[in-house]
Amino acid sequence: MLRIRFFEEEVSRLRAEGSIVGSVHLCNGQEAIYAGASAALDLSRDAVFPTYRGHGWTLACGVPPYALFAELLGRQTGVNGGRGGSAYLTAPEYGMYGENSIVGAGAPIAAGAALAATFDGSGRIALAAFGDGALNQGAVHEAMNFAAVRDLPVIFLVENNHYSELTPIASMVRGDRLFKRASAYGMPGGQVDGNDPTAVRDAVARAVERARRGQGPALIEAVTQRIVGHYIGDAQHYRPPGELETALADEPISRLLATLRETIPYAELDALTERVRDEIADASALARADPPADPSTVLEHLYA
């Protein structure tokens, strides 16, 4: 979680100085979901399909921060050689099968990955992660129904940060219990505290176990909040006064550290924090020193 937080903070800095260009969507405040869910998966065979807010997922899947920085910086050494960027990167060797810049579009693809598993005997689970806004996309509903009717091993994980980009989800749907849509498709659904990594892990683990037994998909709503804007530069004028402060009081990292301080000496936690901070700084410096992506490769890999 710390790695993700410090990574995003460094990305924010690199974007501000212009080293990273384009639209960048940070996941600060949602780290517990990625840490918790990835701990419940077997990434040597399972497949994660996150959204464009995917740096956290990518790191949680095990992609080295250096390779991710290089991708965001448009370097040849980036995890996709500069073809993915911040919002559409892929790292299949780590079980990370692609962010998606199209809201909800990863859900049917995850269902397809799960469909393949029903034929190849791999026992693979596919996890489609998307925001609350994606629940209003047709493709997500098509995927949930398709997965349910075929008992596909898919976990639909909603990161409910209460904002559909810049608009509160409360003004876009009736009712705030998004997981209840699962019952319409005949699959289990439930809500979990998305700021508690252990709770997320346990909820995902239960769904994983069920799916591996051939009992089909599940919908998990992890309730959290974004403590940053939709994109870097988003001034968040739309957030009511006090909301952000409330969110910060409950954000997962300070919460986790507070819990850990009950059993782990302060000095040890501080040393750990510093080590992760250094790791991120080193990875960023290393990536920045790399050459830009090579234009002579731009036409490669379009067709077989």
Binding site: Y97, N100, G112, L115, A116, V149, Y303, A304
Partner: protein
């Protein structure tokens, strides 16, 4: 040596599907009504009985069908899916354009999406404006996709198999007016062809007539009409709209010095315009202005009398050949 069977166009497609399912264990076949009902045009009849769970019906959910195919293909399956009418593609274009076409490129080949999407398109009597469009130009515009337009019974078999064996996303656009219009000898179980390459369907010296899909048959009829007026047209069937076999077109146009492109799709923004531009860019000397024959920029109406006023017929193509030759 291929075995020769007397098949309808629909049966040729079915034979190709049988072969794909037989020879490649990773092939899955799914779509709306393709399994137990055997397809609304009867194209997939008997496959569920023969291949069991690898052939299945889906909800009416085009995004789930194509997205499901993309995801399954990323994990080693080789899905063949059906979009019942090309017009229905439009509700799932994201999965084709933003998803399938990107998988190989962005991952630099680490993951691929070798899916084959079968569909059928075009105008037939009584088809409304949402069941009659010719959309090949939309797909041909997208890098990463391959687009096949089988016009003959043999190509209905060969092009589909070429698509299934190809490691790229392939869209095979059939035409329902061809499905049940008589049987022809079809060589089956021959060598799998590459997913590219045009065919010369009629040799000629005066003008090159490029076409594809069901329009081929009107083009051949038009060539005979033109022959009666003293013009010897060479008819090329593009077969693959992307990649387009520009070499075959240029070689023919260099011989004839004249070019007419005929397609059922609208001329505005159509593949015909692309071909004319490519020939012009290649610097081939033309003896007359190149011509396009296609549908005018209007919706396709349902009443046969109205549709006939829109879709080019053999006589309209023949007139273009005569104009071209006169120039």
């Amino acid at each position: 040596m291929p075995e020769i069977k007397n098949l309808s166009y629909a049966e040729a497609v079915n034979a190709a599907l049988v072969r794909a399912l037989d020879e490649r264990a990773e092939v899955l076949l799914f779509g709306e009504d393709v399994a137990l009902p055997g397809g609304v045009f009867g194209v997939t009849k008997g496959l569920r009985e023969r291949f069991g769970e690898r052939v299945f019906d889906t909800p009416i959910s085009e995004s789930a069908i194509i997205g499901g195919a993309v995801g399954a293909a990323m994990f080693g399956r080789r899905p063949i899916v059906e979009i019942m009418w090309a017009d229905f593609f439009l509700v799932a274009l994201d999965q084709v354009v933003n998803q399938a076409a990107n998988v190989r490129y962005v991952s630099r080949g680490a993951v691929t999406a070798p899916i084959t999407i079968r569909t059928q398109q075009g105008s037939a009597p009584g088809a409304c404006a949402q069941h009659s469009q010719s959309l090949e130009a939309m797909f041909a515009h997208v890098p990463g996709l391959r687009v096949a337009m089988p016009a003959t019974h043999q190509d209905a078999y060969d092009l589909l198999l070429a698509g299934v064996w190809c490691d790229d996303p392939v869209i095979v656009i059939e035409n329902r007016t061809l499905y049940h219009t008589g049987r022809s000898p079809v060589g089956v179980n021959g060598a799998i062809q590459p997913a590219e390459g045009a065919a010369i369907r009629r040799s000629g010296t005066d003008v090159t007539l490029l076409t594809w899909g069901a329009m081929l048959h009107r083009a051949l009829e038009a060539a005979e009409l033109a022959a009666g007026r003293g013009i010897d047209a060479e008819v090329i069937d593009a077969r693959w709209i992307r990649p387009l076999d520009l070499g075959a077109v240029l070689a023919s146009v260099e011989r004839t010095g004249r070019l007419v492109v005929a397609h059922e799709a609208h001329t505005t923004g159509g593949v015909g315009g692309e071909v004319l531009a490519a020939v012009a860019e290649a610097g081939v000397h033309l003896r007359s202005a190149p011509l396009r024959v296609g549908a005018p920029p209007v919706r396709i109406p349902a009443a046969p009398a109205l549709a006939q006023a829109v879709i080019p017929n053999a006589s309209a193509i023949a007139d273009a050949l005569v104009r071209s030759a006169a120039g």
